[in-house]
Each structure stands twice: as structure tokens, then as C-alpha cells.
């Protein structure tokens, strides 16, 4: 029971929300927001209570201190998204669908946690599906907007395709090793051509989920069409979970072909960072802009994996943690402005500092953190990632990454310039944020600074991580 505490708690609150939805009279539906946030906060806090590690169900489920910590990180991200969506959910057209929103969001979280805790590929796949399918419904949440419906359809198609590819790869691995358990696949995975092909299919499936180039084509369209909060959830929590499990699997199950997958990663990193950055420059819509920026960030995450060391895994986790706060900060501002005014392009943000100085500051700090400018946490995140790759001797790769960081600085600064320097005849009107909106942004802000300054966090992650050597 206690070993599976994270998932069981989440399932419990999902069921509570389901029952509340059934028995709550229609005019009181908006209370669900507070209830859901409170319940999730409780789950988050309970998740930090140290509990036993071990395996269950004959090795199908496993948890360690590391996995528990990863789950907590995901919980933090999910909680912030839940808080940030409060304002948007209160809109009259969404009032009827509040509980569904939270139930689906929580069930994807359950899926991710089962995926992280999986001890065999079957559970891994089930978790992955549970983390994906409800997201398609959420992407199509505003179904009567054409873009949102389009986003849902594109997401379900691309994820179904990627799941299919992944399953095909897994079937090859199963066929050659005769088992699905991670503990048994690892030793049996000797790197025969068929196994390598299976791995490549598996990796392609995962690359879809993390949106690495060349499997990134769905990202921008889905992020643009989906509700802003769902886009932020997709870009942060969903991507983070997939990156975590990919790291773990590459370091354990596929450790014997580390030479091969690091070559694959090498090329994909260069492609992903460069393409993501170059396309981000051209975007006018902020959601698309953040989508491409998140593609580039995914490439940076891989830098830690290619480091192959314990330090590398630490940097991956640390960077995702930082990325959660900074990206949610940026998306948070975009979502507030999009909710209140419907403006989503960079030009609309002209002169934001004059009317809404706090939002503009928040946006600036988040973008600084995404770009990696000291003293915010993003700088440390990226610095450590580069160090992890450089420790492995990949100097050219690090050089390319640094050049790309400079490119990215350019387009992040474009937005900041628009907010602070540009003048506009029709600036975004001044408005007051309600409690949840401010809370969501303050949490992000605190995270951006705290994670960067408190070195104990990095030490704690490092203490739990493991590497190939």
C-alpha cells in the first residue's frame, strides 16, 4: 500500500472529484476548483513524506527514493497548472466542465506516475497511454473553437502513431529477449540488429512524446490550438515525465548499447536545438513561440542524458525542475492575458510594462530563466547540463549548444523588448489578478529563484541519481 502511495492518493482524489461531480448541484460547480486544488496540495505534501521503497506485483511496479522524488516534481508542476487554470475555468463557457478538466488532468498524472514506477514494458506502455489519451480530450476542451478541436485531433493522431511505432519496437524487443521485465530485458539486450531496430522504434515513439526533431511537427499546432493551460501542462509535466523515464530506461535497460544511443542523441540534440530555435524566431503567436522554445529546451535536456553519468541524470532532473517553474511562469502570463483579452501575438504585448508592470516583470524573469541568464535558476540548469556533456568530452556539441543559447537569447529578448520598450496605441488594459492567478505566478517566481539559489536541492537530487559509470 505505502509503496504505491503516490498513485493511490491520486486515484483517491480523482474518485472523490468524480463523486463530487455526480452529487454536487449544478450551481455550485465552481467550488470544485478550490476542492481540487486543496486535495492536490494535500497529495503533494503527503508525497514528500518519506515512505518505503520496493517492488510490487512480481516486479511490475517498483519505486525508489529517486522515483518518489520525480513523482513529487511532477506533482508540483501539476499543482501549479491546476492553480493557473482556475481563472480560465471560471469562464461561463467552461463552468459545466470543471470537474472533467481536473479528473482528466489528474488521470494523466496517474499515468505518468505509473509509467515512472513501471517495472516492465507493459506497465510502462499502459502508463504512457493513460498519460496521453486524456490529454487529447483536454486539448480539444474548447471543442467549439475550431483550433482546439484541431489540436485534439492532431494530438490523438500523432500520439496514436507514435504509440504504434513504440509498440512495434517493444514487440521486437519482447520477441528477441522473451520478457518484458526491465530487470530481465537489460541483461538479455545484447544489441543484435533486431534489438537495435526495436530500440530505434521505441526511441522514435518516445521522441514523439518529448517532441524532438524530427518528430516535433505536431507540437506547435497542438500548443497553439489547445487551451493555454493544457499547452503548458503538455510542455512541462508531460514532457518532463517522458524525459525522466527515457533517462532511466536508457541508463538501465539499454545501457549495453550506450555507445549507439549516444550517437543517435548527438545528432538529435543538434537538430532539435537548432530547428527549435530557428523556428521560434519566426513565430508571432506566443503559444507557437513557446512551443518551439520548448522543443529547443527538450534538446537541452538530452544534453544531460548524453553525459551518461550520475551527474548527467542529476542535471536532467534539475533542469526539468527549473524548466517547470520558468515555463509555467511564462505560460501563466500568456494564459492570463489570453483569458482576459484574447491577445496572443507578440505585437499585442507592446507596452505591457506600462499597464501591467508586474505581469511584464514576471514574464521577463521567466524568459530570462528559459534563456539561461544569471542569476535566475535557468542559468544554473543550463550550465550544469553543458558541464555534464562537457565532462563526457563532447566539446563540439556543447559549443553548438552555447551558440544556440545565444540565438535563443535573441528571440526571448524580442518579447522583452516588446513589453518594455515598444509603445502601443492600444496596449493591453490594466487588470487586477484574482487570488489563484497571483498564487500560481508567485509559486513560479519563488521556484525560479529558490531552485537556483538553494544548492541543497541539487545536492539532494545528486544523492539519489545514478549513472552509467
Amino acid at each position: 500500500m505505502l509503496i504505491m502511495r503516490h498513485e493511490l492518493l491520486l486515484i483517491a482524489i480523482t474518485v472523490i472529484l468524480l463523486l463530487v461531480e455526480i452529487f454536487l448541484p449544478g450551481d455550485k460547480k465552481s467550488r470544485v476548483i478550490t476542492l481540487a486544488i486543496l486535495l492536490m496540495t494535500a497529495v503533494l505534501i503527503l508525497g514528500f513524506v518519506p515512505g518505503p521503497s520496493g517492488t510490487l506485483f512480481g516486479g511490475m511496479y517498483q519505486t525508489t527514493a529517486l522515483i518518489s522524488m520525480l513523482k513529487n516534481i511532477l506533482n508540483i508542476g501539476a499543482l501549479i497548472v491546476m492553480i493557473q487554470s482556475a481563472d480560465w475555468l471560471r469562464k461561463p463557457e467552461n463552468k459545466e466542465k470543471i470537474s472533467e478538466y481536473y479528473i482528466l488532468l489528474l488521470s494523466t498524472l496517474i499515468g505518468m506516475q505509473y509509467m515512472l514506477s513501471s517495472g516492465d514494458f507493459l506497465m510502462f506502455y499502459l502508463g504512457l497511454e493513460l498519460a496521453t489519451i486524456p490529454l487529447a480530450a483536454l486539448a480539444a476542451f474548447e471543442r467549439f473553437k475550431e483550433k482546439s478541436a484541431e489540436a485534439g485531433v492532431k494530438f490523438i493522431f500523432s500520439s496514436a502513431l507514435s504509440s504504434g511505432i513504440l509498440l512495434y519496437g517493444l514487440s521486437m524487443i519482447y520477441g528477441t529477449t522473451g520478457t518484458l521485465y526491465f530487470a530481465e530485458v537489460g541483461p538479455a539486450f545484447t544489441g543484435t540488429p533486431l534489438q537495435v531496430l526495436g530500440f530505434i522504434f521505441f526511441f522514435a515513439g518516445m521522441a514523439f512524446k518529448i517532441s524532438l526533431v524530427p518528430f516535433h511537427l505536431w507540437t506547435a499546432d497542438v500548443y497553439e490550438g489547445a487551451p493555454v493551460n493544457i499547452s503548458s501542462y503538455l510542455s512541462v509535466v508531460s514532457k518532463g515525465a517522458a524525459a525522466f523515464i527515457l533517462t532511466i530506461l536508457l541508463f538501465t535497460v539499454f545501457s549495453k548499447i550506450a555507445l549507439m544511443w549516444s550517437n543517435v542523441l548527438y545528432i538529435i540534440i543538434i537538430l532539435t536545438i537548432t530547428m527549435g530555435n530557428l523556428f521560434a524566431i519566426r513565430q508571432q503567436n506566443l503559444k507557437r513561440f513557446l512551443a518551439f522554445s520548448s522543443i529547443a529546451q527538450a534538446g537541452f535536456i538530452l544534453l544531460g542524458i548524453i553525459g551518461q553519468s550520475q551527474y548527467g541524470m542529476t542535471t536532467v532532473i534539475y533542469f526539468v525542475l527549473v524548466y517547470i517553474f520558468s515555463n509555467l511562469g511564462a505560460f501563466g502570463v500568456v494564459s492570463i492575458i489570453s483569458n482576459r483579452t484574447g491577445c496572443e501575438t507578440i505585437n499585442d504585448y507592446d507596452g505591457l510594462y506600462r499597464t501591467n508592470p508586474r505581469l511584464a516583470m514576471m514574464m521577463m524573469l521567466s524568459l530570462f530563466s528559459l534563456a539561461g541568464i544569471p542569476p535566475v535558476a535557468g542559468f544554473f540548469g543550463k550550465f550544469f547540463l553543458f558541464a555534464a556533456a562537457a565532462n563526457h568530452g563532447l566539446y563540439i556539441l556543447v559549443l553548438i549548444a552555447i551558440i544556440n543559447t545565444i540565438i535563443s537569447l535573441y528571440y526571448y529578448l524580442l518579447v522583452i523588448k516588446a513589453m518594455f520598450l515598444n509603445r502601443s496605441d492600444r496596449p493591453i488594459p490594466k487588470f487586477k489578478s484574482d487570488f489563484y492567478t497571483s498564487l500560481g505566478l508567485i509559486l513560479c517566481l519563488a521556484g525560479i529563484f529558490a531552485v537556483g539559489i538553494a544548492s541543497t536541492i541539487f545536492e539532494a537530487i545528486n544523492g539519489l541519481s545514478f549513472g552509467l559509470y
Binding site: 463557457e93 466542465k97 482528466l104 467549439f144 520477441g175
Partner: protein, 166 residues
């Protein structure tokens, strides 16, 4: 020996009908060919002495999912083939990619002696009693987690089915 012939027949049928799913001009024909594919695969299950799986396969896929497919295709009345003609370079790229993937697959499987992969075949595994035991003992967790998956899929369907609030 006799079952070998049936195996080849069913495989040929499955391959033929799944190719026809792609080649058919009318969507309805595609759907019907897909149904035929499912029947062929159901036949394979029977060959493996997995009657329960075979019949459930037919009930779920042929009986429910494909009927819904057919229902949707009929309702939308997708009679004509409406495909925008693709530019030549897309076709060329697709053909090239297909050939390359085919070559890789051939290369990978050629070097592989498939007879090496031998897992003990339990002839009773497909019967409903054995299946139930395995499902509720060894695969308890995936079984329960998939029930959560279905529940959320249902919630998602309800969400998408809700009428617009004005």
C-alpha cells in the same frame, strides 16, 4: 500439417485484406476489408487454441468497433474519394522512405534465424480459465490500471460530448 495450410490461408487472407484496406477507393470497402482482417486474425487465435481470445476479438473488433466505424462512415456519407493530389516530390520521398525502411527490415530479419526464438507454447493458455488466472494473478496491476484508463476515456468522451454552453 492441415493446420499449417489453414495458417497460410489465414495469413494470406489477412495480408490481402489489410492491403485492400489501403487500396480501396471507397471508405466503406476499406472498413469491410478491415473487418475481414479481424476475422482472419481471429482465426489465428483459434489455431493457437485460444478460443476465448478469438471470440472476444471478434465481439470487440468486428462486432463493436467496426460497426461504429461503418456507422460513422455511413453517417458522414464518405462516398467519394476526396484526396488532394500530392506533389510529385512528396510521392517520391514517400516511396524512397518506404524502400529504405523495407531494406532495413529485410536486412535485420535476414541475419536472424527466427527458429532461434522458441518460447514454450502452452496450449492451455488461451482457454478462459487459464486466462482468468493469469489476468488476475500475474497481470493484476496492468488489468486494474487499464480500468482507470477506460474510466478516464469515458470521462473524456463525456467531456467532448457535452453541448455548448451559451
Amino acid at each position: 500439417m492441415f493446420s499449417n495450410y489453414i495458417f497460410y490461408f489465414l495469413s494470406a487472407l489477412a495480408l490481402y485484406s489489410s492491403v485492400m484496406v489501403l487500396l480501396s477507393k471507397k471508405p466503406i470497402h476499406s472498413v469491410l476489408y478491415l473487418t475481414l482482417t479481424f476475422f482472419a486474425i481471429g482465426g489465428h487465435y483459434i489455431l493457437l487454441n485460444a478460443q476465448f481470445l478469438a471470440i472476444v476479438h471478434i465481439i470487440v473488433y468486428a462486432g463493436a468497433i467496426m460497426v461504429l466505424f461503418l456507422f460513422t462512415v455511413m453517417l458522414l456519407n464518405l462516398n467519394k474519394e476526396e484526396r488532394s493530389p500530392k506533389p510529385i516530390w512528396v510521392k517520391a520521398a514517400a516511396i524512397l522512405a518506404g524502400i529504405m525502411l523495407g531494406l532495413v527490415l529485410i536486412g535485420v530479419f535476414r541475419g536472424y534465424d527466427l527458429r532461434l526464438i522458441q518460447h514454450p507454447m502452452e496450449s492451455q493458455i488461451g482457454l478462459v480459465k487459464e486466462l482468468g488466472k493469469i489476468l488476475y494473478r500475474d497481470y493484476m496491476l496492468p488489468f486494474e490500471v487499464s480500468s482507470i484508463l477506460f474510466l478516464t476515456a469515458m470521462v473524456g468522451a463525456v467531456l467532448l460530448g457535452k453541448k455548448e454552453q451559451i
